[in-house]
Structure formats: structure tokens, C-alpha cells
């Protein structure tokens, strides 16, 4: 289908973009990579009056090393993340997960910030941002503010970003020694929406998890921490039996939704399978850290 009519404007600075967003309010939508927005417009699931195209705002570009974190400008395209040595060396979870993000033509265009700001429940980058305890920097008429990933994802496509704010960058902490990561996802076709997925960050000592962070996506309304499972793993002697026991309690953490990718019962089953595989993988990797 064709998109309904809208107006188009391409601001030449971030200030101008924020002013436009304040002026048009809820009638406007930010156009970044457009790889999720344009499908919804073409299918008329959404009919904004104005698109504010931020693609030429160079200040939102780039990946850089800043102190203890890596700064990813909101407009950084998925292809640039996949090819970045800074990311490969410092944020291995993102390097592993980026391979699952859509297909080559979409990765050439889609942006990291767009994915995180949209907060699609099946998307990889919001889940990784939450697993890594990243910080989101948004700017609005009252200036910049930082939001912790733990406080950012509220509900289905709902985040802590106010309507008149633009996500300008995401800061992800650099991997520390002793930390290990694993990422797994199931989909019908490589690059399609996840049926179930899991991002994990952990530290391990003397055969025990000192800390473990499990973020589930594709099954809930937002990227979701498996808090029960996490708290039962931490500090206990690791074994396959412990894993089996702990995984049973995933039912207390997750409440999967039925959708085109599968039924709730199947999704819960898949997340249990992924949890088992992911924990085994991360333990094995920790042995090699």
C-alpha cells in the first residue's frame, strides 16, 4: 500500500529538529533510518502529519571511545556497528547480536538510535542496551538528560523519552575483565522478527555466578529482565541440575504474548530452551575469559 499524505521537513541542526518537534507535537514523527517507520506508514498503521528527517544531522553520527564507555550516536547505521573495531573489541555482546538484525539492505539504512527509541519488543538492540546497563541521552527543549536503560523501557513502544525529546546517543559500558556475554535468537528466517531471544551478561568465579543479567525479548511487550532466574543463579554452585531447576521458574518472570511469530505456550518453551543453551554457553566462555 501507499503511505497516507504527510509533510516532510529536513532540519539542518539538532536545535532546529527539537524546535520542530515541539511545534508539531504529537502530529510529527522523527524519520531516522525509517526501516520500521516507513513500513508502518505504507501499511497505514500510522498516519503522522509531518515527518522530521534527521538523517543529515552529523552531530548524531559516529562511534567513539569516551572514558569508561563507548558512545554510539543515534544515527549510527547497523552496518557501521557491524564493521566497527571499537564495538568488536569493547562491546562483544553488540557485535554478536548485530548479525541477527534484519537483512543487509535494512542494516545499510536502519539506525541504532532508531531501534532503541522505537523499543520494538522483538528488536535486538534494545535488549542488548538493557543487558549492558547502558545510558540513553535524550535532548529536548529543556536541554539534555540521561536515562538509565533500566528506567527507559516502559511498555509496548513506550519509553521514558518525552514526545518533544530526541534520542541523541547511547552510552554502553566497556567490557570489564571477567565479564562474559552470550546472545541467542530464534526466528523462522534469518534476520526476521525474533520468535524468542535472550541477551546475557555475567561474571563468574569459583564455579559460581557473581552476577548474571538475562534480558528476554520477542516474547514480552518490552525487553524484560529474568529477575527470578537471575537471583536464583547468583552465588549458587553452578551445575546443569541448578540450571534445570532455575529455568522452571522462568514462568514467574515471563508472560509471553501470542502473535504471528508463535503462541504464548510455544514462546515460553523456546525461552526455556534458550535460557539453558545461553547459560551453558556463557559458562563455557567464562572458562575461557
Amino acid at each position: 500500500m501507499k503511505a497516507a499524505k504527510f509533510k516532510y521537513i529536513r532540519p539542518s541542526s539538532l536545535d532546529e529538529a527539537i524546535n520542530l518537534l515541539s511545534d508539531f507535537g504529537e502530529e510529527a514523527r522523527i524519520l531516522a533510518g525509517g526501516q520500521s517507520l516507513l513500513p508502518t506508514l505504507n501499511m497505514r498503521l500510522s498516519q503522522p502529519k509531518v515527518l522530521i528527517d534527521i538523517n543529515r544531522l552529523d552531530e548524531l553520527q559516529g562511534i567513539s571511545h569516551e572514558g569508561k564507555h563507548i558512545r554510539i550516536g543515534a544515527l549510527t547505521r547497523h552496518v557501521d556497528i557491524a564493521e566497527s573495531d571499537l564495538i568488536t573489541e569493547n562491546i562483544p555482546l553488540i557485535s554478536e547480536a548485530i548479525e541477527y538484525v534484519a537483512h543487509v539492505a535494512v542494516r545499510n539504512r536502519g539506525t541504532f538510535g532508531g531501534s532503541v527509541a522505537l523499543a520494538d519488543p522483538a528488536a535486538e538492540m534494545p535488549a542488548c542496551t538493557l543487558a549492558l546497563q547502558g545510558t540513553l541521552v535524550v535532548e529536548g527543549p529543556n536541554g539534555r538528560r540521561q536515562i538509565r536503560a533500566d528506567d527507559f523501557f516502559h511498555d509496548l513502544y513506550e519509553t521514558a523519552r518525552a514526545p518533544e525529546e530526541i534520542l541523541v546517543e547511547v552510552q554502553l559500558p566497556i567490557r570489564r575483565s571477567g565479564e562474559s556475554f552470550a546472545f541467542m535468537e530464534l526466528s523462522r528466517r534469518k534476520g526476521d522478527y525474533a520468535m524468542a531471544g535472550l541477551a546475557c551478561k555475567a561474571t563468574f568465579q569459583d564455579n559460581r555466578f557473581l552476577s548474571v543479567r538475562l534480558v528476554y525479548f520477542g516474547t514480552e511487550l518490552k525487553p524484560t529482565l529474568g529477575e527470578n532466574v537471575m537471583s536464583q543463579l547468583e552465588g549458587r554452585e553452578w551445575s546443569e541440575t541448578l540450571a534445570e531447576k532455575v529455568i522452571a521458574s522462568l514462568e514467574d518472570d515471563l508472560d509471553p504474548v501470542d502473535n504471528l511469530q508463535g503462541s504464548a505456550a510455544m514462546k515460553l518453551h523456546l525461552q526455556k530452551v534458550l535460557t539453558k543453551r545461553t547459560l551453558a554457553e556463557v559458562v563455557q566462555r567464562l572458562g575461557n575469559v
Binding site: 516532510y8 505504507n42 534476520g191
Partner: protein, 163 residues
């Protein structure tokens, strides 16, 4: 000011083009309806099928997920320009030899995507080629012949480099 129509200037297949386009018109409608370049096809029109794949500023994109207005100042290459450039003439010949198409609807998109893969000049395993091509649907061939054609072309190019 936000606009209903925009004046754009861009390069399409090496030629300078100027036009006034509606804000909501995507790139493939512009190419097909305004420039009569009908090689880029519209299948799903929401970014799933890959039939609309075109090259914008050097990289393959979904032509239905880019607005014509966004391409002001861009360099666009369609299957017509790619064919004329002879960049993938070997791949096109191998597509014919291997019968890598039946109805041909997906073929321009397949060639645009495969052109990016071949340009990387990496040694790729068959499953990696499959993954790279996974964003392009074909409803006729069952994919094997397409992957064969790409694999054979890739190998032939490497062979030629070695000799």
C-alpha cells in the same frame, strides 16, 4: 516549514535528474512512475520481500523504505544502470545458465543484493551466501539455483584473480 512537495536533484544511473515529488512518494514509485525505470519491482511494499532493492550512495537499500525526497543529492543505481555498467554481467550469465529464475519478478532485487556481496570479494561459505541473500524472497526457484549462480560467479572471479 514542512512541505507537501519537494524539488529534488539526484543522479540516477549516471544521469542528473531534477523533479518535483510528493513528500510521501517512495523511491521506487519515483523510479517507476516518473522515470519509467520499471526494473525495480514492488512486491510487498513494506520491506519484507526485497524485490525493490536498489543502490543508494553505494549501498543496497529497500527502495520502498526510502522516500524520493530523502534522495535529494544522492547517487542512485537501479538494475538498468547495473546491467549497463556490466558490473555483474558474469552473474547475469550464470543466472541464465543455472536457471536461477522462473517468473523473474525477484531477479532484479536478487542481482542488486548479490552485486554488493560480490563486491566485498570475500570467500564465503554457501550458508553465508544464503544468509546474505536471506532478505530477498523468491517464490519460484526454491533458492538453490540462485545460490548456485552466486557461488559459481564468486568462485570464477577468485579463479580469474589467481591466474
Amino acid at each position: 516549514m514542512a512541505y507537501d512537495f519537494l524539488d529534488i536533484k539526484l543522479i540516477v544511473n549516471g544521469e542528473q535528474v531534477s523533479a518535483r515529488v510528493p513528500a510521501r512518494m517512495h523511491l521506487v514509485d519515483f523510479l517507476r512512475m516518473e522515470l519509467e525505470l520499471t526494473g525495480s519491482h514492488l512486491g510487498c511494499e513494506h520491506g519484507i520481500c526485497g524485490a525493490c532493492s536498489v543502490r543508494v550512495d553505494g549501498v543496497v537499500v529497500r527502495g520502498c523504505l526510502v522516500l524520493a525526497a530523502q534522495c535529494d543529492g544522492s547517487d542512485v543505481l537501479t538494475i538498468e544502470g547495473l546491467s549497463e555498467s556490466k558490473e555483474v554481467v558474469d552473474l547475469q550469465n550464470t543466472f541464465v545458465e543455472r536457471n536461477a529464475m522462473q517468473c523473474g519478478f525477484c531477479t532484479p532485487g536478487m542481482l542488486m543484493t548479490a552485486a554488493e556481496l560480490l563486491a566485498k570479494n570475500d570467500k564465503m561459505a554457501r550458508n553465508e551466501i544464503r544468509e546474505f541473500m536471506s532478505g530477498n524472497f523468491c517464490r519460484c526457484t526454491g533458492y538453490h539455483a540462485i545460490i548456485d549462480a552466486i557461488e559459481i560467479t564468486m568462485e570464477a572471479r577468485r579463479e580469474e584473480e589467481r591466474s
